[in-house]
Symmetry: C2
Subunit: 595 residues, 2 copies
């Protein structure tokens, strides 16, 4: 043990304990006050270290990495405004249940409120957007604080992972000198053969979190409701547990129920060809006729609130009994229509309900399926009329549904991309994952989040993003290149906030320019600044070729496609009309009984 | 009155009252939930509206604009993570006393914690980093809430401006539909001839804030201390009240005291040629000999903590009595050496102390002046040895001291720029303003802050910034071009975190790469992306020509100068050595009595 500054031994122990508790990735933004932690992470040897110069970007990168890897990710920055930059990512992580361990270096308490440089009060900095916050004592080299540091690592990671997962904050004040001792962490001796510096207490050998399983009575109750229903409907909102889709499809089969699968539910992308899965409801449920004819008598909901406004309005309007299975408290139900709520893990609840059901009798789900198939064909036909040149932005998602390779991850931006995705994405490939930041649905940090997903190494990653959102987080391209990640960005450029063309603000020309904010950012130059490949394409065939090329080549590539927000509104209306007309034609053959 | 949605009348009234209370600038980031406010601001007709696509950048832009204009500036964004992006700028504004009025649109309370889209709990989002926070009721169109809205505008602006100034937060939930009525705001009728919509109560005709003047006893006490001192010393840290420098120099003359003028004190830049002003202490006080020989028996301090670490160490070590005049509570004194504290406005306190003093007897300030003059000559000579090519980064500030035109604003980045500025900047021009974000001293948001200063239209603005800080806030260039602002950026590119080469972390090659984060960002391309001019120069004469050209041409220009962090450390040591040697040579002639 060469002890530069033995008072900092607790930091080395903390970093070792964080590793033992399961953290493998740390996103570090450089700084001076954080030196004890930076050096301890660097010397540990076990961590993947992601250096990111911008803390806001680092926060979202960690979010994407934790989301895709399923593991908690650590964030580390220096004192002051640097720490403030994490807030947007923590709001999203908190809302969407992503485990993050935020480490902020701080100046010691004797400098608070003295006017000392770069000293801000960082205690409880993130307010309610962390599950727990720890204010560490200034390390003194004593055994008690070393134990406490090890224990805090385990306690923090447990809190971050425990259901529902989320961010935790550890604020750590340091006194100079800042270089930590070069010793093996206590409890770490076996790994590198160096004698232990302390007895290692505080760290655990293992931790298990609670499993929120449903009580038997709840399962029996829900099973009775489903069995008694003549028109049961399953709605799966955004969620990314890979175990949910198979469980849900077994329930759908057992119940004879259609599954309205949000594009971010993983149900549509994992199993788009399962006959119970309904993909195009956002287009065809706009017709009151269909909302009424196919009204369910029972709705069973899991996941977050669906992207589709049309579906939301239907759920709010149908007089059906509505069962919500949600591990989050208070349960998610923005329309206050839930009638029966189970606060438990959806996978186990659904599997138990499916097992408790009698053999399915109802074939009413086939009515939904027939309409959805007809809608699919009508959508395809309508999109085809837009020709080979890129015109209607919505078609991109139908094309991607055909092109994306098995196992790919599609990350979509908020605002228009996720809405068009909802309407037009019915993928052919298997094992796709479709992700977005839908906890708070910001347009910020989207490129960083996708880069974090790429860092998880779970499959080829394609990001589809609008120009304002891309501009907002351009700096994230640096992290992609710096860390040798592979990311294909499809940049849909309508030159400023296309979503507003779909909203009532459009009707007021005196103020519309403050919503649709035209700009002339040259993304070709911006991508070149960071050393990525850039291409601009104007027809669908070229886009597909370019994307296939870029996926094979790896690295960072940005493919820009120009669109027009005004035309987009017209196209969207055309498609909806065409689908409505096609369904009206086929309506007679569709009628029939419920079973 | 054409009332689209009369329930939103209070918003129109609020926007009018905010104007009446003194706000003239609003920085808007587009969004949907904020529509009632966006449309009301746009239709008001009196506001300068700055559209900024990135809320983090908008926060710092507003900070720079409020700092340079001396007026409170409003910020407006939509709900969700957008609001979280303001936190870094609010931390800086809070620490540095800059008045901002933050308006966050919110979804209505019935959607909190329901899983509704883009809904985050924004109440108390900024924790202790705002002076006050207001949770508005959802507007109902009734007279009581209209009064309340007008009153809240006045109360918020008063809180933001009241000493010490700072940010306030108004969170405003809105229910759909979101388009406000097209009526004249109550109390606004005279301006546009439209009948008033309500009685206009709630808004004030005028508001005056408290003036923190010192009690007579305090003035007499401080004057006695100064009169009794044989070796009084005045230290002025960062501050930007233009009234302080003349007051302070009158006190210096009356007391026979040298003034150690921080580069951000405005004393050095407003009055660099006043003989009482000492500029190069950061270089020559490094020698213990001078710290001891010129030790004061009384120190009188105003402003924030000085940039110079050498001066800080001297202040902590000198056994002198130390008077602190500071309107902030608790008073700023990171070394706990204050002995006599006056919590009052420094300008009035200092003017009254100066008036109460007997005619000055002491000429001890001339000893400081002689050493500082010798140091200045030695610094100049040492810098000249570096030749015509740009090598030592510190020389930039000596060159700028000669080049900057009268009335210019120099904005400097944190980390190395402000430190080199401290050591080498002794300007010739008059009426210069030197600004930086020294509240919390972050490297984030610096370009946006300088753009905000440019938006205030107070003089030509030159920003000197390092490459990591520039990368952190590249997107701000968009705002400069979009709004037709003029800003000359001198980009000092040492390719990653040069300050760490001056810190102990450098001695540890196993971990140094996590501090000095090399990068290959092409700033030429980045500037082109936003449509700015770009030049790279390698010698001082070319830099001066380019800067003069760019100042005359207006618009956005970025001049990149390449430096080398390792060589910089060596140069800095050379200059310090040369100055020490020069001062040692002249030491004999300098000695002498105190008076």
């Amino acid at each position: 043990m060469t002890a530069e500054n033995p008072h900092l031994a607790a930091v080395v122990d903390f970093v070792a304990a964080l590793y033992q508790s399961g953290v493998r990735d740390v996103c570090i933004s450089p700084g001076s006050r954080s030196t004890p932690l930076v050096v301890s992470f660097a010397r540990h040897g076990g961590y993947r270290i992601w250096t990111l110069l911008d803390e806001r970007s680092a926060g979202f990168f960690a979010l994407g990495l934790a989301r895709a890897s399923g593991r908690p990710v650590a964030l580390l920055c220096t004192s002051g405004t640097a720490a403030g930059n994490y807030l947007p990512a923590l709001m999203e992580a908190w809302a969407d249940g992503v485990p993050l361990v935020v480490l902020t270096a701080d100046r010691p308490p004797e400098l608070y409120a003295t006017g000392s440089n770069q000293t801000a009060d960082q205690r409880k900095l993130y307010g309610r957007y962390v599950k727990l916050d720890f204010d560490m004592p200034v390390p003194d080299g004593g055994e008690m604080l070393r134990r406490h540091a090890r224990a805090t690592a385990w306690r923090a990671v447990a809190a971050a992972q425990s259901y529902p997962p989320g961010p935790v904050h550890i604020n750590w004040p340091f006194r100079e000198p800042l270089l930590p001792p070069h010793h093996a962490a206590a409890g770490d001796g076996a790994r590198n053969g160096v004698p232990e510096a302390a007895d290692g207490r505080g760290g655990l050998a293992a931790w298990w979190g609670p499993q929120p399983v449903p009580p038997e009575a709840a399962v029996a109750h829900v099973a009775r409701l489903v069995a008694a229903s003549r028109r049961p409907l399953i709605v799966c909102g955004p969620q990314d547990d890979p175990l949910l889709p198979p469980a849900l499809l077994r329930l759908a089969a057992a119940a004879g129920a259609p599954v309205l699968a949000d594009p971010l539910s993983q149900v549509r992308s994992f199993a788009g060809r399962d006959e119970h899965v309904i993909c195009h409801y956002d287009v065809w449920l706009r017709a009151a006729r269909w909302r009424e004819r196919l009204a369910p008598d029972l709705v069973l909901r899991v996941g977050a609130a669906p992207v589709s406004k049309v579906l939301a309005e239907s759920l709010a309007a149908w007089p059906a009994r509505q069962v919500v299975i949600d591990p989050v408290l208070p349960w998610r139900d923005p329309w206050f229509v839930a009638t029966d709520v189970v606060t438990a893990h959806p996978v186990s609840t659904i599997a138990e309900v499916a097992a408790a059901l009698p053999p399915a009798a109802s074939a009413w789900w086939r009515r939904w399926r027939r309409v959805d198939e007809a809608a699919r064909a009508a959508v395809r036909a309508a999109l085809a009329t837009s020709g080979s040149r890129i015109a209607f932005e919505g078609r991109l998602y139908a094309e991607l549904a055909d092109w994306l390779p098995d196992g790919a991850v599609l990350f979509v931006g908020n605002s228009m991309p996720v809405r068009h995705l909802d309407a037009y994405f019915a993928p052919r490939a298997v094992g796709l994952r479709v992700l977005a930041n839908r906890g708070v649905s910001g347009i910020d940090g989207v490129v960083s989040s996708a880069a974090g997903v790429a860092a998880a190494g779970v499959g080829p990653v394609v990001l589809v993003i609008g120009d304002v959102s891309f501009y907002h987080d351009l700096g994230a391209l640096h992290a992609v290149v710096r860390h040798g990640l592979s990311l294909v960005v499809v940049l849909v450029n309508n030159r400023g906030g296309g979503i507003f063309s779909f909203l009532p603000q459009r009707a007021h020309p005196d103020t519309f320019s403050f919503f649709r904010t035209e700009h002339d950012v040259s993304f070709a130059h911006a991508v070149a600044a960071y050393g990525g490949r850039y291409a601009r394409v104007e027809d669908w065939a070229a886009l597909r070729r370019q994307m296939e090329h870029d996926l094979a080549a790896g690295g960072l590539s940005v493919i820009e496609i120009p669109t027009d927000a005004e035309q987009d509104v017209a196209w969207q209306a055309d498609v909806v009309r065409a689908v409505a007309a096609a369904l009206a034609d086929g309506e007679e053959g569709e009628g029939g009984g419920d079973a």
